[in-house]
Amino acid sequence: MSTVQGAAGGKLAWWESRRTRDTILRSISYVVVIAGAVVLTVPFLWMLSSSLKPAHAVFASPPEWIPDPVMWRNYVDAWTAMPFTRFLINTVFIIALGLSGELLSCTVVAYGFARYRFPGRNVLFIILLSTMMLPYVVTLIPTFLIWRTLGLINTFDPLVIGAIFAWGPFHIFLLRQFMLTVPVEMEEAAIVDGAHTMQRFAYIMIPLIRPALLAVGVFTFQAFWNDFLGPLIYLNDMSKYTMNLGIYFFMGGPAEAPQWHWLMAMSTMLALPVLVLFFLAQRYFIEGLTVTGLKG
């Protein structure tokens, strides 16, 4: 069929036909999507390429995209230029505690909001949601003063203990939304069987909301891995630095000329665990974002 009946019933020229227009639109979409993908990946490739260059080649003009020779040593040199192994241990320690605290507390709180009726529940839940909008700068200084009064500045405590108190309203919200989709009948059956609250929670709810837990886990991991202001404010001794803080001081002040090949190696190493985690848990990550984004 070379011509198509138009909406008005008259014949259309070939360039007016739907199929042609679809093809054109599709081609444009392809071009734009691919161009966008290139724009997004080029900086990333540039980072990889710079990280494998010898120091003198970093500033070469025109730029070399394929490093020659490939300097795998940059990674070792950058890593050993400062006690990064120690920084990594500190970061992993903070993440381990923070992650477990956050997961435990947020699921428990979300369970309360999702399954139990009590006076003031809706008001409290709205308050919880509105704290999502609260800028962190307002609470930053008094929170610091609380930890200072407790004598816990320059310890890891301020970075992890808050997690026990479910400090991610976003995570509670996500878990609650997910729990609401679980049929109540399952828990009612368990009540008949004589299961008490904690048993129902642990044996019925938790296994059923695993995808949401994984999503929260990924987000929390990302939040701790990205956190820079917290360690910057609370940690003083270099032996307690996290990766981000270490890199910040490794970068040097404004006056110094940074060692770009080393810094790019550090950037790559910083990105690697998160990228791996993302590829493993991509589904949960996207699902989590979707649930919270749509029903907010």
């Binding site: 392809y30 999507v33 691919i34 997004l40 990946t41 990333f44 540039w46 980072m47 970093v58 025109p62 730029p63 320690f93 505690l97 507390s105 428990v108 709180v109 369970y111 309360g112 909001f113 139990y116 009726r117 009590f118 919880l128 704290t131 800028p135 700068v137 307002v138 609470t139 930053l140 200084i141 008094p142 610091f144 003063l145 609380i146 200072r148 890891f156 992890v160 203990i161 108190f165 479910a166 990302q222 202001l229 910057l232 404010i233 032996s239 981000n244 910040y248 970068m251 940074p258 770009w260 810094l263 790019m264 550090m266 950037s267 990105a271 990228l275 993302f278 991509q282 984004g293 749509l294």
Partner: protein
Amino acid sequence: MQPHLATAIRFVIVLAGVSGLMVLVHRGLRLLNVRREAATGYALITPWLVGFLVFTSFPMIASAYLSFTDYNILQPPNWVGLENFRRIFTRDIDFWPAIRLTLLYAFLSVPIGVAGALVVAMLLANDLRGIGIYRTVYYLPTVLPEVAVALLWRWIFNPQAGLLNRFVVPVFRLFGLSRPDWFGDPTYVLPAFVIISLWGITGVNMVIFLAALKNVPLHLYEVAFIDGAGGWKRFRHITVPMISPVIFLQVVRGIIGALQIFTVYAFTNPTPRAGKFMSFYIYQTGFQQFRMGYASALAWILFAIILVLTLMVLRSSEMWVYYEGERK
């Protein structure tokens, strides 16, 4: 490993304490003849409630109080009334440039970011071949750690050997402009940050828009198509109203995020002559100069700005946000 062990022990103690508190809340409420279900509910939300009181409500009140004081940590806070605010608005040479830079950044990056994310999401919502791979690539900015990205940008914007200038310098030369020193020349600091925010367009916003687009019922488009509505009309009268709650949410989140940008600024280290971003200025005042009262006043001004802008968006939302379940 000493500090780790100490923190781990305190962590376990607090964890046990909170669990104990939950049991106590439950027992106490039961003794007061509260229904079993309600008592359990309160017990379960106890961790958040305590956290909210200790780490949100109290700091809010404390920081409001501190904003009227002069406090250097070593001596107790000294009440100065409105002096901090008077100083900020009249004599502080850093304040207005900081406000200007922060607001301009928000006004430029938020609309571009939300509109851009929507366009990209609409492109990716098409069933193109190999779309899975493109989507994964488009998630990169969401996934890459902020610090790694900030360092990368600092390198890309490097005036001598940065990737950007290798493309930009020839163009600039055509217009008789010299090689841009992105973070060193005050003129270019704002454009540089807007460019960085452009790269982040495909981040979280896009993922959420993508999901929202998939939730628009297909039959609406079919009906509109039969009625002869073209692509633009379908977009304007179906897509936009149907996803308007999501757009609204993104705008609000965007404003809050843009006004508090910190890490990228700290790592790219631009010249202070362009003004500093507010959150960085607050950090410097509070944690480098230990003027905690003054910094609290600055924080409240930033908070007020965020609040006013959010309320403005909220007010306007009645005109353009459509909630499907809502009855008027």
